[in-house]
Subunit: 342 residues, 2 copies
DNA sequence: ATCAGTGTTGCACAGGTGTGCAATCGCGGC
DNA sequence: GCCGCGATTGCACACCTGTGCAACACTGAT
């Protein structure tokens, strides 16, 4: 039961070399693709390293090479289905490309964030991906000053150094407006949070501006952090009054779920007959039978692929890469916008 | 616009030492708590390193020390709200303890898993946390053979080497049965997946066995992988027949959501009046207005704290630590079990 | 037999850090 | 003035790997 655990230390290339009766260089070359080793020594090295359980030490390798294979993911609002899908998808794509993801959660006191960010620098990550909507600019400066390759996702602040990968949030705002128009809705609302995330603001503003140009006004509900509760609170604010809206653009699916639930269970409204709803993110819950939410679906796979491209790019190619790129979120039609009942 | 990016390389301790006019050792000692440095040199070192943007290279440090500060998280079913909460909570706790989380997603072809696991070894992680329910035993063997400290979460295979942290799944199964009994339900069912995860099996078996001892039979629905769809499929299998159950224990909240949605929207049943439901995991959706699901809530924070303890423990303490520990999931009462209508 | 050419191999250095050991410095006590 | 003592500092080694360079072996052609 209490068997002896020798806590076998990791084997080094030197030990493998001795067991195989070759030089340490031969071991190194065996595990370096394209290096010059004879078949015979390669076999002996492989045999020896399996016997000893040898695994190349990436820490030491990272010292020599310019690349450590580590990519850092800085994430906030990680309690969101959208964010966890992003993290998961990125991690998978990265490891398929031979990299490995190090995740740093910045949800919480910002003192920790500062500390956590030093980790990025400490481990000499090949690149840092910022998924967080609103980390302090100082963080980004620090990374940039240290020559870190930085990839910003869905942030609308345009800086010179980093690469920016964004969704076309303004297009989504306009499209949502047009969809409601076609459905014959006339009393518009938008439900959002007071987080002030640039991408959420862009969706909201484009929607409101387009409506204003068409001579319409939009009721705005802005409550708490970006969450299910924000949507429920928005419903309570918007639906209690006399002339309640008949269409609501929720800047996030999570908000949309909270909004719909409160509308149905607390106000007894029927979606989409009395109230049309459009969300954004196309989270898994959007397709659940209770919601069947019409929503904008961000091209997560494409996004992840683009990140991997940027993260694995050589120094030379990095110079030429465009520093900012927009991807389009397509509207997925389900059952929360009423049929053309003009 | 196209400003020059010098791609400033990282500063080394040597450069800091030169700028500060001290030896490299002094720099090293400045960043090593408890080392002997005079206040004056410490100040000069700190000033110089801020000027150069110096950050200790943890890769090099990891070569010398026994600890690299990296903890590896091996996760499957990461598209589950429960799993992403686990990962997020663990990452946060770890970084509060000065560690950093490296996540490896094993959802996908197992060839990748093997490759990804080598990463764990390659980076000399201080510990590896296995959150995945069903990875091959070979993986665990490999880790163990290389002296990796292994922490298994909610796996019911008891091995000698690793530490096991489990929920009391059998207790939950029994408790669910008793709750249904008290509510006056008599036609029991259990809804699960065919994933064969040990922890899910334990919940199911304890529930079924307890019922059998009480002289009752249980209808079982077992469909697909552990997901929302599994629950919906379970509902279609169980509720179409003549004497449908009036109580269903869903081994996962996700399954419960799918089950409830199909029951309501496809069979027009009312929960909890005609059908009582209990889930497990207490995911965020369980508290949404559309579900208000009675569910077992695992002590996620406590679990994470225990993991951090095990991961940061010194070599000596590790010898004495108990190799296996059970935590209890408490039942959170909401609105999916009918009131005592005996 | 000589030579050019090709494929392998080993040496030695570099990369950035922590730390034991010895040396140095300053200071108080005799 | 000398000695003991504690605090500080620098040297040099260790950790583990990748790779340029030179040496070597071997083949085939002249």
């Amino acid at each position: 039961m209490d068997q002896i655990k020798p806590r076998k230390a990791f084997a080094s290339a030197k030990q493998v070399a001795e067991l195989a009766g070759v030089s340490r260089s031969a071991v190194s070359r065996t595990f370096t693709p394209g290096a010059s080793v004879s078949d015979e020594t390669r076999q002996r090295v492989i045999q020896a390293s399996e016997k000893l359980g040898y695994h190349v030490n990436h820490l030491a390798r990272g010292l020599l090479r310019k690349s450590t294979g580590i990519v850092c993911l800085i994430v906030a609002d990680s309690d969101t289905p959208y964010m966890s899908r992003m993290v998961r998808t990125l991690a998978r794509h990265l490891q398929e490309a031979g990299k490995v993801a190090m995740v740093i959660d910045t949800t919480g006191p910002s003192e920790n964030v500062e500390h956590a960010l030093r980790q990025t620098l400490n481990y000499r990550a090949d690149a840092t991906v910022v998924l967080s909507g609103t980390p302090a600019h100082s963080i980004i400066r620090t990374c940039l000053d240290n020559g870190q390759r930085l990839i910003l996702i869905n942030r609308d602040d345009r800086l010179a150094g980093p690469y920016n990968l964004s969704l076309d949030n303004r297009l989504a705002g306009r499209t949502a407006f047009e969809a409601f128009m076609k459905a014959g809705c006339r009393r518009l609302a938008v439900v959002t949070s007071d987080a002030g995330t640039p991408s959420l603001l862009a969706r909201e503003e484009a929607y409101v501006e387009t409506a204003r140009k068409a001579g319409m006004t939009v009721a705005v509900a802005r409550n708490g952090r970006t969450s299910y509760e924000a949507g429920a609170a928005g419903a309570r604010a918007l639906l209690a009054g006399p002339d309640r809206p008949d269409a609501a653009f929720c800047v996030t699916d999570l908000i949309a779920c909270g909004f719909m639930d409160a509308a149905r269970h607390e106000f007894g409204l029927s979606v989409p007959d009395e109230l049309s709803v459009i969300g954004f993110d196309d989270i898994e819950q959007a397709s659940w039978l209770s919601y069947r939410l019409t929503s904008f679906s961000p091209p997560v796979e494409e996004l992840a692929a683009a990140v991997v491209d940027l993260a694995t790019m050589g120094e030379a190619a990095a110079e030429d890469a465009p520093s900012s790129r927009f991807l389009e979120a397509s509207l997925v039609w389900r059952d929360t916008v009423r049929e053309n009942g003009a």
